[in-house]
Assembly symmetry: C2
Homo-oligomer: 213 residues x 2
Amino acid sequence: MPLNTSEKTVGRLSLYRRLLQELSTASVSYVYSHQLATKAGVTAAKLRRDIMAIGYTGSPSKGYDVVKLAESIAHFLEDPEGQPAVIIGVGNLGRAIMSYFGGRRPKLQLVAAFDSDEKKVNRVIHNIRCFSADSLEEYIVQNSIKVAVITVPVTQAQNVADILVRSGVKGIMNFAPIHLRVPSDVFIEDIDLAISLEKVAYFARQNKQKKEA
Amino acid sequence: MPLNTSEKTVGRLSLYRRLLQELSTASVSYVYSHQLATKAGVTAAKLRRDIMAIGYTGSPSKGYDVVKLAESIAHFLEDPEGQPAVIIGVGNLGRAIMSYFGGRRPKLQLVAAFDSDEKKVNRVIHNIRCFSADSLEEYIVQNSIKVAVITVPVTQAQNVADILVRSGVKGIMNFAPIHLRVPSDVFIEDIDLAISLEKVAYFARQNKQKKEA
DNA sequence: TAAACATTGTTAAAATATTCACAGCAGTAT
DNA sequence: ATACTGCTGTGAATATTTTAACAATGTTTA
Ligand SMILES: NC(=O)c1ccc[n+]([C@@H]2O[C@H](COP(=O)([O-])OP(=O)(O)OC[C@H]3O[C@@H](n4cnc5c(N)ncnc54)[C@H](O)[C@@H]3O)[C@@H](O)[C@H]2O)c1
Ligand SMILES: NC(=O)c1ccc[n+]([C@@H]2O[C@H](COP(=O)([O-])OP(=O)(O)OC[C@H]3O[C@@H](n4cnc5c(N)ncnc54)[C@H](O)[C@@H]3O)[C@@H](O)[C@H]2O)c1
């Protein structure tokens, strides 16, 4: 399997897996590319190409084995050892995220939160304990954390990113509206909701649809 | 100016504008493409190409006029009449979003929230009043709402989307992890945080960087 | 004044991503 | 058996996006 799987393909594989798990729960055993593609909102050809990337092979007559394909994607996406993650900034957004990711996926769990506000320290929110921001570096190093979520105010985001990088974090989901400067081996996923909303507003006026329905 | 500006370009234009406003606040009058590009985390060539899309022209010696370019982008992105928006689902995420977008941009404001939980109705959260979900359709029609944010549970999202579309909404920012079925003239921006986090975790393991640092 | 310089706007090239289209295959029907 | 069906996997074609490259241009300097 190629080392250079694109960001888009990785994202869609994650989506396919979710849909496969739903199918599995609904006791569906096999699914055709066009069926899964429809659920995902992509074309069948694109889906088959994505699946090619992980080297899984379906049957021309029965389609894809729901459970096997889901496992195959999981094997591709997940670290079998698990990847604990932390979140920094227990404000409005941070708490919402914590409620969402609390105990969501065994291999990818939020294990700790950090905040500089002493009033929040030691509180347990949605099963995740909040620690002092002062202990961030130590915690990351000691627990070999590689994945982090930044939900601090924009003025603090680069600061926090610097600490994370220094401590060994290799992937950051960043909600602060700022371009973080990090070494090139650290992956940043920016979630910029202001931009997203402006896009929606713009295309709502254009009455222009996305590529695939 | 071409009718077919890509989604990516529109998103980046929104980003440039934010940076220009920051520069303007800092009393900077002119900026070169490579300076603005660095702030945005993109290449200068890409930025110049994006700006080409809106037909603005800078000066080879002084670069771009900060205020004029910001206005030019605003003129391109925004409806001069303003575009009121609504949010449906005043839960953990909905409230965080409301706090973020409350009175953010004059031309693009969250003017109302809707929830099916009667306990939330009539509460005012971050200056936005919460109405009963029963009044959603009427409100949208009467106020000619074209932009909406969906933060209801996944089981309710398609339901809500159907109501929105029926009432005339043309752009939806959707946080529910489901592919919404809507007519092709309705623009959907899916924000799928579970997928985003899985991407981060995957690339954190690969130690692979994004295209531009 | 003219040469040197750094920047823009834009065309052309390259890189990515998507879609097409079909060979090959496993069932099923005849 | 043999023909038929509808699927997958994939090479080739197409579309989109990014990057490179440079002529044109205004500014500064000598
Ligand atoms: N609320 C939203 O829906 C939303 C949407 C998009 C983006 N954002 C961005 O997300 C970030 C957080 O937004 P919010 O609404 O939750 O803000 P918030 O003010 O409610 O929360 C920020 C939290 O970060 C903590 N904090 C500040 N500095 C810190 C530090 N150095 N280390 C650790 N913790 C620190 C604060 O004590 C506070 O609890 C901001 O950058 C905002 O722009 C928020
Ligand atoms: N919390 C997060 O950070 C987060 C992150 C990503 C995605 N999401 C998604 O966003 C959505 C909301 O998440 P949440 O954590 O805020 O959930 P939540 O349960 O806290 O809030 C959902 C709200 O929607 C309301 N609601 C339910 N049905 C409704 C209807 N038909 N009309 C109007 N309102 C209705 C509920 O009363 C509730 O207030 C979910 O689809 C979730 O998957 C949440």
